[in-house]
Structures are given as structure tokens and as C-alpha cells.
Amino acid sequence: MEPWEKVYIKLRAGQDVADIDSHLGRTACVDCHNGNNKEPNNKEKAHEGLIVDPSEYVDGTNSCGKAGCHESKVGDYKNSLHQQLWGEKRMVALRSGVNSFTQCPQTTQDGYNGECTDCHATCGQCHISIPNSAGGGFPKNGPIYNSHRFRKTPDMKNNCTACHGSRIAHDFYGDEEAGRKGDTHYLYAMDCMDCHSNVEMHSAVADKDNTHRYNYDHLPRCENCHSDIGTANNYHSIHLEKVSCFVCHAVSTPGGYNNCTGCHVAGEWKTDPEYQERNPEEDFKIGRNPLKSDSRPYDFVTLRHIPIVRTSYDNWGASGTLVDYDDYETWKYATPHSIQRWTSQTDTTGGKTCSEKCHITNGENSKLYLFEDYIQTNWPNEINANKDVVVDGHLPSWWSK
């Protein structure tokens, strides 16, 4: 999108700005953005004191939270998982050997706040414009300009997957040319908001130091819709509490899932031929559940390889601060958005049984699972960190690797 298009408010014949959105009829631009609306012929003067994104939090509030506007929502969102990335901060703290992000070395906090928080979603980046990390500006769908329209429900492509692109969009939308089908929910015309609610996105987190992405009250659960799933068939009856839904129903064929380290780790990127050569897999692995609880009782879950190494924060000047690196898995709990009823694990076309497609018999299917020797070969420095999630010694004795 051209720079001018990003800030263009298109009026049609007979249209006033208030017709685009009622907010624009009630408030002048300068009420939220500052600047000077008496200087239309002087760009510099007109933009003096400009606030580009008035929904950015300053001293705990923003323009959307003004009295009589969205005070409550803005107050809650300030401490939400989506805005504050509490889960990520928690892991930074734990690997640094402390209990809270605020106890991390100052160099780590500064580095994190300088780089990682670029992805913070302000109100405007979901409800008005495209997120900054994806280029910013008002969305434009084909020839249609969205102008400065306030959208109660964000747009899946312009907002959600503009940020959650490389993994979620890759899996969820699929790619017909590449032979990837996409998530069945997407193919049934569902969008992100059908599962990820307004409450999940905006709710304040009470226990900031102990909340992470999968330990959060408002997460969607498959059972919310698929309520009778436990008795739907024999496979479900046998496996329901042993494996997460994703173990069977996430597409794991080559390229089906875009693992984090399919693209990058420790500053190296997929465009680097040496890295491409060395990085063996893009897929998830089935491993032991690192988050076992009453709500996640499964023995086995899907895991993704995250791009964290012992020296990840060195360029922040925080060398040697990841003192507890070995205590937290680098193959993390994952919920791939590549769900299909029939996957390579469940498709029994040709007379194979489900167990022949998934259980390890005569060495077959072992690539689906996370074994210690696989980590030893490819990432020997991560052996200790993943000792609790590898499947060695935990698969049924009658399976043969």
C-alpha cells in the first residue's frame, strides 16, 4: 500500500465523515490525535504534537479510555494477555532464574521492551488500522478503502493474521498450489473470532507472573462445540484423556505445519542456506505434555520448537543471564491451526488401521515423535531443557522404535 493510501479517508458522493463512522461525527481528529487542524496548508505545523496512535497506552490509559467512552474495556485490556504478553514475560523471567519479569536484569527488560513489545496490539491496531508490525495504515480490500472506520469486530486477514501470519495464517488458510488444504474450520467459513472471543482478547489477567497462554480462563476449547466428542467413536473413547485433539487431527504432512524454527533461531533465517541445510524439520512432534493439569490431562501433545537458545539475549547486553535455560523445554506445547478430520495419522485409506498410521511399529512413524537422539543430533545444547517432554521410555512397551 502506498504511504498516502494508509492515511486516506475516502468520501463518496453525498457522504460526510460522520457517514463513514459515527465516532468521526462526534469527535474531531485533533480530539484524539492532537496536531493543529487550522493549518491545512502547512504539513509540519499541522502535525506538530501529533499522536499517531492515540490508543497507545500512556500512563495507564489512552484516548479510547476517556471518560464516557470505553473506560472499562481499556482498563481491562491494559493488563490482558494480548496487550501485555504476560505469558512470554513469564518465560523470560523463569529462564532468567527469577519469578517475575520485573526481577529480570535491567538489560533483559530493556531489550525485551525494545524489541518484543513491538508486537503489542493497541486498540487501533485491531479495530481501525492494520497493525504496525504489518505495515500500518487503514486497510484496503481490493479497490475498497476502509478509511478511518472503527470496526467492532476486527478483520481476520487485515488484523489477526497480519500479526499471527507465519505460523497461524500459513496453517489456517492453507495453500492450494502448495497442496496444503487449510484448517477445516476455515474451510467451513469460520474466522478467528468464532473461537477466540472478545472476552479472551480483552480480559485483565489477575496473576500476571503465573499466567501463560495455556493457563488462562478464557481460552477456547474444542469441547465447547464438539461436546459429544468423547463417545463419538472407539478411537475417541480410547484416546480422549491420553492425547490432545491435535495429536491426531493436526495435519503433519511435510509443510503442513510451520514450526517456529522452520524459519529462524538465534538470528539465523531460512534464507540462510547453511541454516536451511542444518534445520531438519518444519513439522510439530508428538511429545509428553509439559502442562499436565485437570483441564489438560493428556499424556501426549503436539510440540513446536521455539527459537530460544542460551545466547538469545546476548545482543541486548544480557549475556549469561539465562541461568535456568536447562529447566524449561524448548519444544513447547502447541495447538496447530491445521485441523482436519483426516490427517496422515487418522486416514485409513487403503486398509491401514489408525494405529498403523500413528503407533510406532517396526520403526515406522517414529518421525512423528520427539526422541532424545533427534534433539542430540540437531540441537545438542537443548537436551537438558527437553528431558521432560521427549517420549523415550514413555511409549507402550509393545511399540518398537
Binding site: W4, L11, G165
Partner: protein, 62 residues
């Protein structure tokens, strides 16, 4: 066949009309006194003031 065309034509006409409303010939400039809107609703002005050397990429985040 004729019946199908008879049914389809009004639909095509209706779709064509909705496309026309986004055609440039229907663009109107803001005529009020808010300086911000005088510029930000004027395509020609914006193109002159924000030339295209620093365009953003397509949405494709991490």
C-alpha cells in the same frame, strides 16, 4: 436459457452499480473547515505530500 439471462441481468446490473460507487468519478472532497480532513480526504494532496518511496509491505507478521 432466456429465463436464466432474464434473472441474471438485474443481478449483474446491481453488482455493477455497487462497483461504480467506488469508482473515482464519484469521489467527493471534504468541504468543511477541519484542516485535517481537508488533506486526508483529498487523494491528490496526499499523493503530493506522502510520495511512495516508503511504502509498507503486505500483512504478514510472525
Amino acid at each position: 436459457m432466456a429465463r436464466k439471462i432474464f434473472l441474471l441481468l438485474p443481478i449483474l446490473f446491481f453488482i455493477a452499480c455497487t462497483q461504480l460507487t467506488d469508482d473515482n468519478s464519484y469521489i467527493k472532497s471534504y468541504t468543511g473547515d477541519d484542516g485535517c480532513l481537508i488533506c486526508h480526504t483529498n487523494e491528490a494532496r496526499l499523493q503530493a505530500l506522502a510520495p511512495s518511496e516508503s511504502g509498507g509491505g503486505p500483512p504478514d507478521g510472525g
